[in-house]
Subunit: 455 residues, 2 copies
Amino acid sequence: MSELIEQLRAALPADAVRTDPDVLRSYAADTAGFCPAGRPAALVLPRTVEQVQHVLRTAHARQVPVVPQGARTGLSGAANAVEGCLLLSLVRMDRILEIDPVDRIAVVEPGVVNARLSRAVAEHGLSYPPDPSSWETCTIGGNIGTGSGGLCCVKYGVTAEYVLGLDVVLADGRLLSTGRRTAKGVAGYDLTRLIVGSEGSLGIVVRAVLGLRAQPPRQLALAAEFPSAAAACDAVCRIMAAGHTPALLELMDRTTLRAVNEMTKMGLPETTEALLLAAFDTPDPVPELRAVEDLCTAAGASGVVPAADPAESELLLQARRAALTALEAVKGTSMIDDVCVPRSRLADMLEGTAEIAERYGLTIGVCAHAGDGNTHPTVCFDAADEDEARRARESFDAIMELGLRLGGTITGEHGVGLLKKEWLARELGEVSLELHRAVKAAFDPTGILNPGKLF
Amino acid sequence: MSELIEQLRAALPADAVRTDPDVLRSYAADTAGFCPAGRPAALVLPRTVEQVQHVLRTAHARQVPVVPQGARTGLSGAANAVEGCLLLSLVRMDRILEIDPVDRIAVVEPGVVNARLSRAVAEHGLSYPPDPSSWETCTIGGNIGTGSGGLCCVKYGVTAEYVLGLDVVLADGRLLSTGRRTAKGVAGYDLTRLIVGSEGSLGIVVRAVLGLRAQPPRQLALAAEFPSAAAACDAVCRIMAAGHTPALLELMDRTTLRAVNEMTKMGLPETTEALLLAAFDTPDPVPELRAVEDLCTAAGASGVVPAADPAESELLLQARRAALTALEAVKGTSMIDDVCVPRSRLADMLEGTAEIAERYGLTIGVCAHAGDGNTHPTVCFDAADEDEARRARESFDAIMELGLRLGGTITGEHGVGLLKKEWLARELGEVSLELHRAVKAAFDPTGILNPGKLF
């Protein structure tokens, strides 16, 4: 062990190799519940590509597992330590190397925080759309590792669609460049996309070329109240079938609304069974908002509140932003799921989740990126109550099973990590799983990169 | 040999296994120049997934190479026969299985022609954007194999962005399902994107779930004439830097314009050194077209012609659509390249291509998806003139070298096939190439799928 540390320190500054037990403990896990974390041998905090290569070469020579980490805001345990591993934190590699408004790209290191990049490109009239809830703290490297989404996806897609090229340190320390700086390119296999969402199991991202968009106008929103979740889901289907492409289309169920009211005293209508938020960021969003209002009314909305201006839109969105914290407050602990179904099955997903909540005697609030069919059923429980915690875990699994039954996926944007690895096997099936293992072996034959995650 | 045919016929109708030499010859190659084609052992034309599985099982057992084909409109030799292979044509698997306006997806077989799908989804108010020039004849399976683009890409991206999930018959006949039917999903490695653009070297696509968009309004275009290619490229940079996102942004150089004039008698201004076409498909494109007109003028445009309506826009685009045929007519044969550079280097790419034309004593016309930096330098030559043909091939290579030097890629949308395999190795470098080989081995350990293509 001390030999390992010595070897690491040969090419890394002293403060970049940490072994203090308190520090190791505090870095050992991400934000997921129900995921075990092992005891790391050390934490390394490199600042350069060469330092990352040294770490990997050292780990590879000694066959020590390496677990890469960003801000550890992940929700699946993908960044949790495995026993005796090196925790490889990329947070100190946080430079924005380039922003180019003509080529509409940014070149960044993995430790750049999402919000910092978003603000930096905004100064050039550009936008980096992916906006996970944790955007103020999560890193681009973490977003790439998990394939993050956010509210923007219904119009602007997920992280993967903005990653044009990567520099990746391989398991043995070699440097791989994938992809391109150009708008298009089909030279060879799409290794870039293979790395995105691979949760550090194929290589360590040390640099990314990201595609940017022109900054859209500020969005204008409306809120629509519905007497049932089914009616809100019907509105979602009508909106999408009519050819609208909102910049966001979010749903909150009654449980979520009550939790938000309780916490924020916003005074949302307590009788509402579901609230839909729709926003458009086109040059003139008013006609589309009016059409959406009519579609909501046709689907049975009991009331529609259009925002007068972007500031009022922001107020409407605050309830949505408060949802997870509010649900967490209900029973002290919450566990957020991430099941995505075809949007035509959204109503079935919500109905089924309500049944699961009843069956397990639990409070489960649902907020959803409804335009994508991506639901976040959030199980509220008292972690100190062993029986309730067990039921929480079981209900979580029942929700994934429901999602698969409805033609969906166990994860729309949070990833698999430790939390869902058994479920990934069920979703993929044996042929796909076998190919996953073969691809993993092609990149990391001795299996030192984030072992035991994903599959 | 006859044993192979017998075995194939055991599970395929008689007319689905062809061995007539004339038929084999006519299927032996795609549309690329300078690419050798071997003599196939047979042509198979399955209609079902099970038949494709039977073909692969048979080929795998006997270690016979398999070359998948769509409409053979490809431009890189990826669909060319290798000696003794089975040509596996997917054109009879041409059913559109599903179009769903709520989930905005289509489920199709690989032999569906691009234009047929585009028209079918338009009836539901939807759009399938990828629009390669060959869209009236090329198949979705071929588009997926090569990762096709088109005029739409500057706003709507390439084929890869519309492929959500695939059914793929593997080298040994097993069936792999990748991806999803949902708008989002990050369950496991992105095998879907790995298959897209892999030119049949990893598996045979037998079904695809495609993402669709709402149909945009009909586009309105303008044409701008420039006294130099550099000025036109400057306009492209100004347009993109100002935050515009045209639905297309196309450039034609003087050589192309003269060829089009010669063929079509359109009466384009012969003094123009470069013509830029820009179009917008927003609800109100007029303000953006005016802004683009001003930017073109500022970049030195000698004249700008805005279309009065979509019909006039269509007339403006006819010159662009005629470009390749017109260049082909110059000397009887043409060879189209596909180098994509960062759009900030577009002027350097055009200038360098003009120098190459002069150095090799050849006519090279350039049309470009300028908004993407994707140039199609087209070498015009007399194939009967051995020396000219040799110079044509050499100039083609010089163009790729130039593209790489400018930070570009050897292929923006046409693929690698046989034509560019040496160049792919140069673009990727040894580490990436080694991983490509390992990924190939993970999918096709015995190497029967489209051997000798790509790398």
